[in-house]
Each structure stands twice: as structure tokens, then as C-alpha cells.
Amino acid sequence: MAKIMFVNRNAPHGTIYAWEGLEVVLIFGAYENELSAVYMDDAVFSLKKGQDTSALGIKGFLQTLPVLEDYGCEKIYVDKESMEKRGLKVDDFAIPVEVMDSAGIGKIMEEQDVILPF
């Protein structure tokens, strides 16, 4: 069983990165791995409550985020500095997350077998 971490750094909706980063978690959920995800830099906005993409004509993230846990991705980490720099607080996120400082994020990255960046 491999420890696999998805590191999300790109803003939602402007590019496909954030969406792909979410989809791939669901795919990996079919296999026996230890999954986790980090949201840092502009990707912290992917977790924000109240996103309404209907006028853009694209599927949003809010239906998918709560099922990550059911697909085996039980640990969702948010980089504290990225969050604070963008004026966000832990209450602004649509799902429960663990807020972690730079050193903590660096440490858990080192513990992974594989890192997939988005």
C-alpha cells in the first residue's frame, strides 16, 4: 500500500488543474492506497464554501469535496500561510480540513511514496 499525496496549488475554474486534481482522487479511490491531499497557494479557493459555477456552465466542486473521504482520501491539509494570505479562515471551507504550517506540510510530503501535483 503506497502513501500517495495530491498537492493542489492552482486556482479553481481558471484552468483545469483543480478539477483534474479532484477527479484523480476519485480514480485512485478504487485502489488500496493511503491517500491524502494538500491545498496550498491559490488552490485554497477550491475548498471555499458558496461556489456557484452555474453561470460558467461547468460542474463545481461542492458536490465532490464531501465524498473525498468515502473514496479513501481522509486527510485534507491546508497550508496556513496560503490561507491567511488570501484572507480565508478555516470556517470558509466546505469540508473539514487540517490547517498546517510550512514545516508540517514539508514533513508530510517527505513521508509520501508518491506525490502528484496539480
Partner: protein, 98 residues
């Protein structure tokens, strides 16, 4: 862990975030537009000098040469070729800062 950065530090925060998170002594490799950060005298020079205190910093020679930067690199940045790149990836798990 090998941290690979390919975006210009003047356009994106990838290098800055990488340096903030990278554990002490973890190597950092600049490729593609990220090599612009290794040019001497730029406003990100301090960022790179700070990284050099805690990390080996490499830059891919092909990208350095293509941008005419071979003679003007921040001291301490090591220029490597593609074979060295492969060696680094063999020796360390990679994390790419897209």
C-alpha cells in the same frame, strides 16, 4: 525529496512556496522558465541566496544556455545536464511545483 520548479519566480509563487516548504538539505532543481530566477542581480536573487543556505540548488544547463544566462548565474547555483537530472530523480522522490 527533489523539488523541481519550472515556472518563472517573477510570474508565479512556485519557487517561493517550494523554498518555504522544502525540508533542510532537500535539493531544488530549476528547469524551463524557473532558471530565470538563477540570473544574478534580479529581485529574486535574495530568495535564491536564502535557499542556497539550506539546499543544494541546481539549474538545467540547456535551459540556462537557451536564455543566455550561462555567464550570469547567482554564485552557488550548480549547472547540471540531462544525465545529472536523471541521476537526481533516481536518488530522490520528485515533487514538481507546477
Amino acid at each position: 525529496m527533489l523539488h523541481i520548479v519550472n515556472k518563472s519566480p517573477y510570474m508565479k509563487s512556485s519557487l517561493e512556496s517550494c523554498i518555504r516548504v522544502a525540508q533542510k538539505n532537500a535539493p531544488i532543481l530549476l528547469i524551463e522558465d524557473a532558471v530565470l530566477g538563477a540570473a544574478v542581480g534580479g529581485s529574486v536573487e535574495g530568495l535564491v541566496q536564502g535557499a542556497l543556505k539550506d539546499h543544494p540548488v541546481y539549474a538545467l544547463g540547456a535551459d540556462i544556455s537557451a536564455r543566455g544566462l550561462a555567464g550570469s548565474l547567482t554564485p552557488g547555483v550548480k549547472v547540471i545536464d540531462y544525465a545529472d537530472f536523471v541521476d537526481l530523480v533516481e536518488q530522490h522522490k520528485p515533487m514538481t511545483w507546477l
